[in-house]
């Protein structure tokens, strides 16, 4: 097990290096520091001096890959590639274009992100499993058919409409909770309810339908038929035999997204003005702050790979037939 994990992590390294090189290429070769400076300064104030100053302030005035001016190992370390890309591996994200410490910002903004993402995941999971079980229990009847139709309908609505509709109905018309915003400590609770509710609802369609097909797949297997044939109660069959086995794909599906929860939700956070990592990324894209975008892309790929490793481990935990080798 341990050896396996070590090997997977070792496999992950070349992927991370590839992601890093690609990001470097896109951010510094396709979109050179001069371009970034021009975008930042605006059309009116672009002069060669202003561009040079902007680049010097942010450390973009060095050569890309190889520095001929200095000597020794500094030839490789005094370059943009080393300072901006290689340092990402040490989780040293440097400073954003307006001079803030990115690592500090990320740690700070992770909390609100998690405060929304975790309850949304749990509430959504609970609703989806219940709904899917209900459909599987009444499979083939009108309850099942109308449930599936409802799922397809729910799935066809854009997440933005759920958010706008929810804000309008619950926030503005019924005045049950504040439309958007965030607060520290326990006061944050009243700001969290609406995003969590909407986030869970917008996932019902796709989630329940998928879980239903997991349940039906198990329900058609031989051991379930045997269980029914020996006279077990249908609900007992469903909970003991079907649910337990269908949990394998459900759990692994959840585990793969677990690390991504840290990144928060782009849409929910920016609509509800929550200072999490999702809105951080969107703001950075809008402000063309490439240092932050670079950091977030790197963090995203690290978390993605962690997710893949976690899934493999989860398989061995929930499914005794699977052994890692």
């Amino acid at each position: 097990m341990f050896a396996y994990i070590v090997r997977r992590v070792a496999y992950a390294l070349p992927i991370l290096i590839g992601v890093n090189l690609l990001t470097f290429y896109l951010f510094f070769v396709v979109n050179s520091p001069d371009d970034m400076a021009r975008l930042h300064l605006g059309v009116k104030r672009v002069t060669p001096e202003a561009i040079d100053k902007w680049k010097a302030e942010r450390g973009y005035n060095k050569p890309l890959l190889y520095n001929e001016v200095v000597s020794g190992s500094a030839k490789l370390t005094h370059t943009i590639f080393f300072e901006k890309s290689v340092k990402l591996f040490a989780f040293d994200f440097g400073h954003s274009d307006d001079g803030r410490d990115i690592s500090h910002d990320i740690l700070e903004r992770m909390k609100p992100s998690l405060a929304i993402a975790i309850p949304t995941l749990l509430v959504g999971l609970l609703i989806n499993i219940t709904f899917a079980m209900l459909m599987a229990f009444f499979r083939g009847t009108y309850v099942d058919v109308s449930g599936v139709v409802l799922c397809v309908v729910l799935m066809s609505i854009s997440a933005m409409f759920y958010i706008i509709g929810g804000q309008f109905l619950l926030g503005k018309l019924l005045r049950l909770m504040p439309i958007s915003g965030y607060d520290t400590g326990l006061d944050a609770l009243k700001f969290l309810v609406l995003p969590v509710v909407i986030g869970a609802i917008s996932g019902i369609g796709a989630g329940s339908r998928m879980y239903r097909s997991f349940f039906l797949e198990e329900a058609n297997k031989d051991f379930v038929r045997t269980a029914r044939a020996k006279g077990l109660d249908e609900s007992l069959v469903l909970f003991r035999h079907v649910l337990k086995n269908a949990m394998i794909p459900i759990v692994t599906g959840v585990v793969v997204v677990l690390p991504m929860l840290f990144l928060g939700s782009l849409l929910l956070e920016s609509f509800f003005a929550i200072p999490g990592l999702g809105s951080y990324t969107i703001d950075a894209i809008n402000r063309q702050d490439f240092a932050i975008v670079r950091a977030m892309v790197f963090l995203g790929s690290v978390l993605y790979i962690i997710g893949l490793i976690l899934v493999d481990i989860a398989y061995t935990v929930v499914d005794p037939r699977v052994r890692l080798s």
Binding site: L26, S156, I157, M160, F161, I164, I282, I285, N286, V293
Partner: protein, 448 residues
């Protein structure tokens, strides 16, 4: 004379249409491909959604025939000059909607503007009131009194027209069926109405009738009113939604077209060749699997729509690639492929003759399933600011601009509503259609 203009996306759209038509003709001649499609057409949900999808496609195609109109010749020379604006056939058909702009917001079917204005009366006094719209309900002498009856008359005319057209359609369909099946026309029409035909013609006819009704309603009402109101600069929202259809379709289809060759080639190659090729391709798709970076780096692209498709394609091919790799891995161990290899068939031929046809159902299912997701993704991307150009008509842009107006009192809801209705119908139809396609083509589902 007009000057035809072919945009990049137009060319690709027509290429796609050609590909689909070729495939359809090919599938007609092969019984093993005809059977699942007949299964799709046999489902009532699927045939209704196909009709709706086709209606969208027709609008999208009309909007893809672009041209530049000649400017008025002032007689000075024989040379013809063309306007800068690139118009489409849809623009020509919707000209009244396109050109009749108001000052600012107005509600659906409104005859007066949304905001109050100071109006100077002839006697010198000033009042603040809602001014009449320039175009909406212009033909009404007294809006308060005539509005109701005018709408009633128009709706009634539309219903009548739609009924007549549907009747005509039923007759045509009956005669067509009669010619194919040696029934009498009367018998054919009765069996359509009773729902006894193999293809659910009754459902298709009902859907068509509904579409015709909507079409006639739009024809009668939108020429006199702004059916979905007007936006901030007074543009007709109904026109904007219709124009957005093309954007949505282009994103949903071209993205797949762009990524398909990549995914198929790499996926099959990885699964078939195994070894280091497999490792390399797996490595590539793990690296490529991070959407954000492409979007920001290419954000300033000029032909943003096309680029958006390419970017979404680059980031979404990995899923299909992985599926194809797995399937090819499985197929290469099957006996008929081992037999082909043993008989000395070249690898290229094994791939094109034996593997490719056997993974096509996965490709088809993925393409259809991805479509609705891509249409939805466009809206989100436009909101984030990395979507299509802000000046382009798209549902994402409509939602994005309408979102800010929800705080107004009274609420400006019509842009949101029309974007919602059109998008929802398209995505719902696509989802129902893809379900039917999956049921018909996925061999695993048949075994049960």
């Amino acid at each position: 004379m007009i000057m035809p203009v072919i945009l990049w996306t137009d060319a690709l759209v027509f290429l796609l249409v050609a590909v689909v038509l070729t495939f359809a003709l090919y599938a007609r001649s092969k019984p093993h491909l005809r059977a699942p499609w007949r299964h799709v057409l046999g489902s009532r949900m699927a045939s209704a959604s196909i009709v709706i999808l086709l209606a969208y496609v027709v609008i999208g195609l009309l909007d893809s025939l672009h041209y530049r109109a000649p400017l008025e010749n002032n007689g000075a020379s024989d040379e013809v000059h063309y306007g800068v604006e690139v118009l489409s056939v849809l623009d020509y058909l919707l000209e009244p909607l396109h050109t009749r702009t108001e000052k600012t917001y107005s509600a659906p079917f409104a005859t007066h503007l949304y905001t109050r204005e100071t109006i100077q009366h002839p006697d010198g006094s000033q009042t603040r009131e809602y001014p009449r719209l320039t175009w909406g309900g212009r033909h009404l002498a007294d809006p308060e009194a005539d509005f109701r009856s005018d709408i009633l008359v128009r709706v009634a005319t539309a219903c009548l027209q739609a009924l007549l057209l549907s009747g005509l359609l039923l007759l045509l369909l009956g005669f067509w069926l009669a010619r194919r099946t040696q029934y009498t026309p009367g018998h054919a029409i009765r069996s359509i109405l009773a729902g006894r035909t193999r293809t659910p013609l009754r459902v298709i006819l009902l859907t068509l009738g509904l579409l015709l009704l909507l079409f006639c309603l739009a024809l009668n009402l939108s020429t006199a009113y702004h059916v979905f109101g007007t936006d901030k600069v007074g543009q007709d929202v109904f026109y904007q939604t219709l124009k957005s259809i093309r954007t949505g379709l282009v994103i949903g289809t071209l993205t797949t077209l762009v990524m398909l060759p990549f995914a198929i080639l790499m996926g099959i190659l990885a699964g078939y060749a195994r070894g280091w090729i497999d490792d390399l391709i797996q490595y590539i798709y793990y690296v490529a699997n991070h959407p954000e970076k492409f979007e920001t780096a290419l954000e300033r692209a000029d032909i943003r729509l096309l680029f958006l498709c390419i970017i979404l394609g680059i980031t979404s091919w990995t899923g299909l690639c992985r599926l194809l790799r797995g399937e090819s891995l499985k197929l290469r161990e099957s006996e008929y492929i081992k037999a082909a290899v043993a008989l000395g068939v070249s690898h290229a031929k094994v791939i094109t003759r034996h593997i490719l046809p056997n993974v096509m159902h996965i490709v088809l299912i993925t393409v259809v399933l991805d479509f609705s997701g891509l249409v939805l993704a466009e809206a989100v991307l436009s909101y984030v600011g990395v979507g299509v150009d802000p000046t382009m008509n798209s549902w994402g842009n409509m939602i994005n601009s309408a979102r800010l107006e929800m705080a107004r009192e009274p609420v400006v809801w019509w842009s949101l509503l029309s974007a919602f209705l059109f998008m929802f119908t398209l995505v719902l139809a696509a989802n129902l259609f893809s379900d039917a396609v999956r049921d018909a083509f996925d061999p695993r589902l048949h075994q049960r």
